[in-house]
Assembly symmetry: C2
Homo-oligomer: 285 residues x 2
């Protein structure tokens, strides 16, 4: 049976926050859910879809009695939320987040939160090009791989609560250190987003391109449809790992380019063969 949280506060009631509210309710995992939005309009939408029970514009009003707080704002706002919450929350509250880069957040909490730490970082690897509570779904987290910060001076009961939270909404939890997480998502998510945007921009310059686009382009560039301001922040908060990953990727592409320029057939085939088997390996196929 899933754990039940009587007082839940969700900061940020967009797609991720709204879906979490719906998921907790659908599974009977929450008593009251308080949602905090940046604008009244998004709070109203979250209320309308039933993702939250009460809506707020100020985190102080919403988190004062919280047993569990989940920060679902854009990544760049998480540090300020952490600074606020450490002062506002009850001493026994459990806090987590959903930001897609983790080192800068977990390291900040490590320094500024009292030990044993009751903030444990999370990253559910889901989302959509769609945003806003109107796209929220109670099943967004079902089967979703979710990173939870590996133990690092956390309060054991707080860790257990965060693991129960994600497990309860159907996620597949993986515990990993923040810097390992960031190195991985730089390569599986951030660099692909950058390349998809670059490819779309280059393609659009080509004459009459609209008429001649196959399904491969559509899938490859799907992530280029994501929100620019979110991706600006994702990149800024994971800069070092992305710069390293871009360098590795550029080196691989440059090796291919040389082989193509020189017409070295075996090298070209080996390049594609390595990509094919690497993909299978990464996806566990």
């Amino acid at each position: 049976m899933s754990r039940r949280f009587e007082n839940v506060t969700i900061l940020g009631v967009g797609l991720l926050g709204g879906s979490l509210g719906l998921a907790l309710k659908a599974r009977g995992m929450a008593g009251i859910i308080r949602g905090v939005g940046h604008r009244q309009a998004s709070v109203d939408k979250a209320l309308a879809v039933g993702a939250i029970d009460a809506g707020y514009l100020d985190v102080r009003d919403a988190a004062r009695d919280a047993e569990l707080v989940v920060i679902c704002t854009p990544s760049a706002l998480v540090p300020r939320m952490l600074d606020d919450l450490v002062l506002i929350c009850p001493r026994d509250a459990v806090v987590t987040d959903v930001a897609s880069t983790k080192g800068f957040i977990c390291n900040l909490a490590q320094v500024t939160w009292p030990a044993p730490r009751r903030f444990i970082g999370s990253h559910p690897m889901t989302g959509s090009e769609k945003s806003g509570p109107e796209y929220a779904s109670a099943d967004l987290y079902a089967g979703c791989v979710t990173m939870v910060e590996a133990d690092n001076g956390h309060a054991p009961d707080a860790r257990a609560a965060v693991l129960d939270l994600w497990g309860g909404v159907g996620a597949r939890v993986v515990e990993v250190a923040p810097e390992v997480h960031d190195a991985i998502v730089a390569r599986t998510s951030h660099v692909p987003h950058i390349l998809a945007a670059a490819v779309a921009s280059v393609a659009a310059k080509q004459w009459d391109i609209q008429a001649l686009v196959g399904p491969g382009f559509r899938d490859f560039t799907r992530i280029a449809g994501s929100r620019p301001e979110i991706w600006r922040d994702n990149c800024l908060t994971n800069r070092e790992a992305i710069l390293a990953a871009l360098q590795e990727t550029a080196a691989a592409v440059e090796a291919f380019r040389c082989a193509l320029e020189q017409g070295r057939e075996p090298a070209l085939e080996a390049f594609f063969r390595a990509g094919q088997s690497a993909r299978g390996e990464v996806l566990g196929q």
Copy 2:
């Protein structure tokens, strides 16, 4: 009503050739369909799924009485097929192909085939990571964007036949010059394949990556699952256009890398915004 071809020969009975056979039959567009395979095993499979009525290993036996020949072999084999067919086919046969690069094929036919030319290049922009006639489908070409070589000294009745062929199986035909086609697919297909392979290879080197992969990576690298020997040849046959496209892409990524290194937020956001709107433009959204 669709045109009917009494004697069709399909060279290469893999996914594309097999699906064409099934599509022509399902729509009553063909009398007898002769299929030529490289190995008896693939010919037998194509016969078993009903994609062809008679199987051959030698193009001379299969194309002697053909009214329509469709070359569905890997790209690299098309030039040899063209050299053979110009000698073997009846004078009034119509010939086309499905290779994903067109300049080297259409230019060869331009030089070696008699005028008015009865070979017209085609490229149905479809396919799959799956290969072989066992995956063939009568609907593979339904709604599929299909490039047909723009008029360039073709016999009018042969052009009409090729246009009727693709229209009849449900494709959305676009007439375009081979070099324009090749510049476009370099940017929408070939470079994405190269980048997907590079990203998969780089990602696989990362420790423990399997556990932490989201849906974005899966879609972005889907095309890296394609057959390496096919992609080696696609690249070799479209070398100049790909080298130019790789250079444009590398320049875009390098501009992003500099902006990230220097923390120039507006430039990062502008990069992702350009990618987002470019994708919408290319896809006509």
